[in-house]
Structure formats: structure tokens, C-alpha cells
């Protein structure tokens, strides 16, 4: 099937294009995520098991958020700025395959961060996890819902500098004012309302539901929201990338 073949060749092309930086970016990303797990404990002094789980699973979710909402839009903004996106658009290939190829490459970079976050949590806080097989559905869906949102931001943003500024804001949002590293109840109602409109909160909730026995998770609701974010944002990105100026 042509779109699948396109996806394979484009993914390979993206990996080859990144081969010099791939390991370095992965290592930095893993260090970044493990650093969250290790460092956040100092903010709290005595860390309860529940807090340790929030920090650890929240950091693992942050690996996906950084990939989807920071790295991916920056990659695409760069491709837009240096003419690569137009070059790919001039080839007889599926544009959706190109977007998915980018998502795959970023996933390859950030996935080790998820595993390392859990290992770092176990080593730092001595916590254990309650892992459900559903996590294998949750991780790709969490990645895709953030990635879809990130692609839409990159494609819709008129300038690379604006894309980069917005992505920096996403990191701040995910760490400090969203229910990713902390319980939703800790946030004021306005921030709770905002978190309903963005994918990170749902991704973190689903990760907690499938990796821990923490209470107050809403797996079904989060799965539906992540599917909706994935479908809507990828459909929007696909429409925009197909649009002729």
C-alpha cells in the first residue's frame, strides 16, 4: 500500500537525517526526565509514596509531552523554515505519512525516558508500580494526542520563533500548572478548567491509572479525550498541510 510504503521510507529518511544527533538528543532527554524524578523530591522534603508516584509517573508523562508538544513542533517548524516541508510536499507522497514519520522518530527519542523515569522513581523513592497491560494502549495514545496537538501548533503557527516560544510555554504549563506532576485538586478551578481543554492532563491521568494504584483516576474518560484530541488535531494538521495557499 502506497501510504504505508511512504511511511516506511519517510521514517527511514528522518532517522538517517537525524543519525548524528539522535543519541545525543535521546540521552539529554533521558537525563532531563530522570532529573525531574530525582530533583522534585527536594521541593517536598519528606516525600510520601503518593507524592513519589505523582512525581515519577508525571515525569514519565512529561517525556511524552516534551516529545509531542516541544520537540515535534520544533522539528516541523524547522522543516517549514528551511524549505524541507515544501520539498516533501512536492513529492508524490502521503503528507499524513510524513507527519506520522516525524511522530515515530520523536517517539523513538522519548520512549527510553519513560522507562528510565520509572527506574529512577524506584531507585530514588523505593516505590513500586501496579502496571496494567492497558499501559501499552495508553502510551501510544498519550504520545499521539500530544503529538497531534504539537503538529497542529507547528503547521498553524506562521513563524518558527512563535512556535518555539509556544512550545516553551507548554513545558512550563505541564510541570507547574497542570495535573501532570500533581493531583488535579491542588490546582485552582480556573487551571482545572484549562486542563480539560489540553491533552497533558488526560495523558497523565491515564498513565497513573495504568501504572499505579493511586485513587481518583478516570481511565475511560481520559482514553476518550485522548482519542478525540488525536483525531481532531491530526485531522486539522492534515487539512492544513494539504491546503494550497
Amino acid at each position: 500500500m502506497k501510504p504505508l510504503r511512504d511511511y516506511y521510507h519517510l521514517t527511514k529518511m528522518q532517522f538517517l537525517a537525524l543519525r548524528g544527533a539522535f543519541v545525543i538528543i535521546s540521552v539529554v532527554n533521558v537525563g532531563f526526565i530522570a532529573g525531574f524524578v530525582y530533583g522534585f523530591g527536594f521541593l517536598f522534603g519528606d516525600v510520601s509514596e503518593a507524592t513519589a508516584l505523582y512525581i515519577t509517573v508525571g515525569s514519565a508523562t512529561n517525556a511524552l509531552i516534551v516529545g509531542g508538544l516541544v520537540m515535534l513542533p520544533q522539528f516541523l517548524a524547522q522543516a517549514k523554515a528551511d524549505g524541507r516541508l515544501d520539498y516533501i510536499r512536492s513529492l508524490p507522497v502521503s503528507r499524513e505519512a510524513y507527519l506520522l514519520a516525524n511522530i515515530t522518530v520523536i517517539a523513538g527519542i522519548v520512549m527510553p525516558g519513560i522507562a528510565l523515569a520509572l527506574v529512577a522513581g524506584w531507585m530514588r523513592y523505593g516505590i513500586s508500580f501496579d502496571i496494567s497491560p492497558l499501559v501499552l494502549v495508553v502510551i501510544p495514545l498519550a504520545a499521539l494526542s500530544c503529538a497531534g496537538f504539537g503538529v497542529a501548533v507547528a503547521i498553524l503557527s506562521p513563524k518558527m520563533q512563535l512556535t518555539n516560544a509556544i512550545t516553551q510555554l507548554f513545558i512550563f504549563y505541564a510541570i507547574f500548572v497542570s495535573p501532570v506532576m500533581m493531583p488535579e485538586d491542588n490546582l485552582p478551578s480556573a487551571l482545572q478548567a484549562i486542563s480539560k481543554l489540553l491533552p497533558p492532563g488526560y495523558a497523565a491521568d491515564a498513565m497513573r491509572a495504568t501504572l499505579t494504584d493511586l485513587p481518583n483516576t478516570h481511565l475511560g474518560q481520559s482514553l476518550i479525550a485522548m482519542v478525540a484530541f488525536t483525531v481532531l488535531s491530526l485531522a486539522a494538521a492534515s487539512t492544513v498541510v494539504r491546503r494550497r495557499g
Binding site: 510504503r5 511512504d6 521510507h9 519517510l10 527511514k12 529518511m13 538517517l16 537525517a17 537525524l18 543519525r19 548524528g20 544527533a21 528551511d82 524549505g83 524541507r84 515544501d86 520539498y87 510536499r89 512536492s90 513529492l91 508524490p92 507522497v93 494550497r244 495557499g245
Partner: protein, 313 residues
Amino acid sequence: MSVLEVKDVVKRYRNGTLANDGISLSLEPGEVYGLLGPNGAGKTTLVGQLLGLLKPTSGGILVNGVNVVKDPGYARKSIAFLPQTQVSMDDIHVDELIHTVARLRGLSRKAARARTEELIDALQLEEFRHTAMSATSGGARRLASFATAVVAPANLIVLDEPTNDVDPVRRKLLWNMVAEFGRQGSAVLLVTHNLAEAERFIHRLAIIDHGRIVSEGSPASLRTVVTDKLKLELTTLNGLVPHPALAPEPGSENRYLFSQSALPAVSEWLAAQRDAGDVIDFRIGPPSLDDIYQAVVTAGTPSLSEAKSEVVA
């Protein structure tokens, strides 16, 4: 049937800029067609519409008889395209890029490998084969991009400034390939400023300015724009007052146009100046495509107005 038929294409951007203002042209099989014009004339906009990256405000574009305004996917399948901007692919090696694009353009693994080798050989890219695109020189990167454009057979090839940064030896290889594509029956649309080189391969050309075609024809027929004129290039010792028959070429200090009927008088004057030691060297010949191009797009000079009115007529 024409390979490409552009019918009265108008493109007005959302900000109001009129980039193409009623452009019509057609390319026949085997024809190498030059599209010339100053920066901002509307060439890249036109190419973007051929490829389906932009949608015309009005007008039609047919590739092999298929309306590509309605079916932009057909255009991308049928057109081999080299963009003006350098294709940047970071660490991918030159041979990997050519091979991958061949696969994306539908070649089998075996055919892609064979064609990659053929192009590396033909464009003398062997020494860059395993070099990352980002680490190659501008010229080698341009040639690798050219290779990706022509890696699969296409009956319409669109090349936007193919020889930018390319050294003279490899430039010749590239032009020979372009001429060969024409001989094999492909139509080639060539967007270039490098008229001196392209002139030998172009069958027809259009000069585009302010979104309109201001002149179109074969290089020979366009020369008739200034057909009764000859060009004199003069190297003098201290500068001198030119013969009254010599009209300075716009934008040049040592080139002049003059009427063929004035040739005896000008020759006599040149001989006298040379004997006096004022003229070091001179050349007389027909105007080049460059001269025609400059005459057509340079505004506000007597020779231009003359040239333009003749072309339009």
C-alpha cells in the same frame, strides 16, 4: 498533446499581491523551455501552482491533458521537480537521499539502486557518496538535489536554478543531462538566471516580469527584438567619448549597441582609436540572450522602451 498547458493563470495572494497576471504558456514533448525574469517576477509562484502547492485564483493548468488544479496529486506524480532552495536533510548521505527519493517516487529497490549509481556516476558525485548532505559543499548538495529530482522518469521536468553553486565542470554535466532529457522526449521547464549557459539548450523561452509574460519565443526569434543592432564590447585605456552611432547599453559602462548600417563607420572609428592607443580591445557580435533579457526587464531607458514595444508588437 502538450505536456504542459498553462492557460491565463492569475494568482493573487491573500495579502493582495498579484503574483501572476494572466500567464499562458505551453510545453511540447522534447522541448526545453526557459522561464526568465527578475526576482519577484512571479516565476516561483507559477512553479508552485504547477506542483499543486498553490492554487490559482483563476485560469487552468493541464499536465498531459489532466487538470492539475483539480487533481494536484497527478502533478506531483508526473513532474520531476528541483526547488530553488537547497534541500537540507542534515545527516543523510548523498547516496541514501537519492535512493530514498527514488523509492518514494515509486522505483523498485533494484531499479532505485541502479539509478542511484547511474546518477552518482553521471554527475561525478562519487567522492561525496557517503558524505552527509549537511557536510557537502553547496554545489555537491545542489547536484544531489538535482539527482533526486530526475531519479525517476518523468515527462515534465521542472528545474529552478539548477546550477546555483555548481562548479563549471559539473555544471556542464548537468546541462548535458538536461539536453539529453529533451532528446529523450521529456519537456523541461527551466527557471534560471544563467542565460549564457542555458542559451545553448533552450528551445524556447519566456521573459516574465511583474507577473506577466513580456516576451516569448525561440532565442533566435527573440534576437530579432534588436535584430538590426550589433553589440560592441570595448576595453579602453582612459575612457573615451564614444562614436555618435553607439548607444550605451543600460547598466553597462563598456557595452554599446549600434545599428548594422553604422558598422563601417564604427569600424573605422575603432581602427583610429586603436591606432591612437586609446582602445586596448574590442569585440563586435550579435546581442546575447542576456542582452535581450536586460533590455526587456530594465525599465525606463530608451532602448528598453524600443525593445519592449517591438516584443509586444
